[in-house]
Amino acid sequence: MKTHMSALLLITLAIPVYAHSTSMEDQSQLITAAPDPASNRYFQPPQESELPDNAFGKLIQEGRALFVDTKNRAPDYVGNGLACANCHLEQGRKANSAPLWAAYTMYPAYRKKNNKVNSYAERLQGCFVYSMNGKAPAADGPIIAALTAYSYWLATGAPTGQELAGRAYPNVPEPEGGYDLVKGEQVYTAQCAICHGANGEGQKSDQDYVFPPLWGADSFNWGAGMHRINTAAAFIKENMPLGKGGTLSDEDAWHVAAFMNSHERPQDPRLVDGSVEKTRIKYHANDGVNLYGQTINGQTLGQ
């Protein structure tokens, strides 16, 4: 109940921000209008118990398993310690956390990111290349087939080509006077380090990451959407600390997002001529707020 209230409040507060916010953000397939504040009813995906007991149901379950246990189930295509479900909460079901049911129905779509019309399979491949810092599974192979089936099933009954409320992480306005890395570190130490570790390294149980690494070699690369501070702030505000989404202030969400994304991480796979500066100009200069190719504490990020 309380959550609904604050979600509603958040939406209401977020409206004026949309007007002057990021035309520069590379999410050109997103329609950036604010969700209807009068409606706190989101699309409801089907329940797992409704899955048919046949080959189709089995493929969907495979997709769901891949989604939550990505590294173990697609080891050849995952180059870091993340799982799809780290960013898409509740196994890709949660509204305002980039749910699969809202993504599936919007493809094929043009994306500035690769300057072409992408199929849903190509969109999923992009996740593997950037967010998972790995390799694209074949578009007609079993991994994409399973993830597509899972997405399709979650979107059962949803209209195609129509932006659904709750599709994105709701925008969070940048603090007046900008973000502050020192404050971000304080927020990180107080709220995040207990799970993600003092140095953003995540935490494992046996071989499996339970808490994902936030920067460094085992995290998402510089081409992932989450490297944008504005995107990370929106994700963090909505979802972090896990189970306590909406408790950080807008300012703290930005500060800590900036702190996270002021650290080194794997190179952008689109690297142009081996040059960070050329890559920055081509892919990062007009991609929201990000620190790729910029110098922080004497170190240029993206090396």
């Binding site: 939550v68 189930r73 207990i194 494992k204 149980s205 046996d206």
Partner: protein, 215 residues
């Protein structure tokens, strides 16, 4: 994992045996220098496996950092319990350090590493592996690890504990009588749980090990 832990535990025992005479006494089996610091073995069992019927938890194999924090919290009153508070208050910092180390070297039972990819049918399984996100309850395994095996020093193992202990702790968080978790991470979840969920999820994790179940 367990084998090597057992090996090291055995090695430690072998190495420490001759030293007993000159070393400070073993807190676990003999208690602290202050008589109020009763020997842990009295209630927690020879192998620190706990006593489910009485609600005494398994403590052998818990991370030393977690044990030190709990004992410090009992001593300061941040965690309350009529039996443990006087005991923890009577232990010296050195004794706390020693007993935490003794305990962490003991083996924790083997846990089936069941994660979110597994099927979930019952209420307990569903809460553990799917959560109840409409109430902001994450999957238990999202923090406590596959099979509730525990993660780091702040997220203790759940499998291996008894239904009685797990449900009593969840209920303590719901009632606000336990609140020594970092940033209310457990408290806010427990307060959103129903009686039936507390019972079901406690029984679920207790049932994941041969020795932790309601046996």
């Amino acid at each position: 994992m367990t084998v090597s832990r057992l090996f090291f535990a055995g090695l430690l025992l072998a190495l420490s045996a001759p030293a007993m005479a000159t070393d400070p006494q073993d807190v676990y089996t003999q208690g602290g220098a202050n008589a109020a610091a009763m020997a842990c073995v009295t209630c927690h069992g020879v192998n620190a496996e706990g006593l489910p019927a009485a609600g005494f938890p398994r403590i052998g194999g818990l991370p030393a950092g977690y044990m030190r924090k709990q004992l410090a919290d009992y001593a300061s009153g941040t965690r309350t319990n009529p039996i443990m508070q006087p005991i923890a208050s009577a232990l010296s910092p050195e004794e706390i350090h020693q007993v935490a180390q003794t305990l962490t070297d003991k083996p924790w039972p083997e846990v089936a590493r069941i994660g979110r990819a597994a099927a979930a049918q019952s209420l307990g399984e569903t809460l553990a592996l799917r959560g109840a996100w409409e109430r902001n309850i994450p999957e238990c395994v999202a923090c406590h690890g596959p099979g509730g095996a525990g993660v780091g020093v702040a997220f203790p193992p759940l499998a291996g504990q008894s239904t009685q202990y797990l449900s009593s702790q969840l209920n303590a968080w719901r009632q606000g009588t336990r609140k020594n978790d970092p940033n209310d991470l457990m408290g806010h979840i427990a307060r959103s749980m129903t009686d039936a969920e507390v019972q079901a999820v406690s029984a679920y994790f207790a049932g994941l090990t041969e020795t932790g179940a309601a046996q």
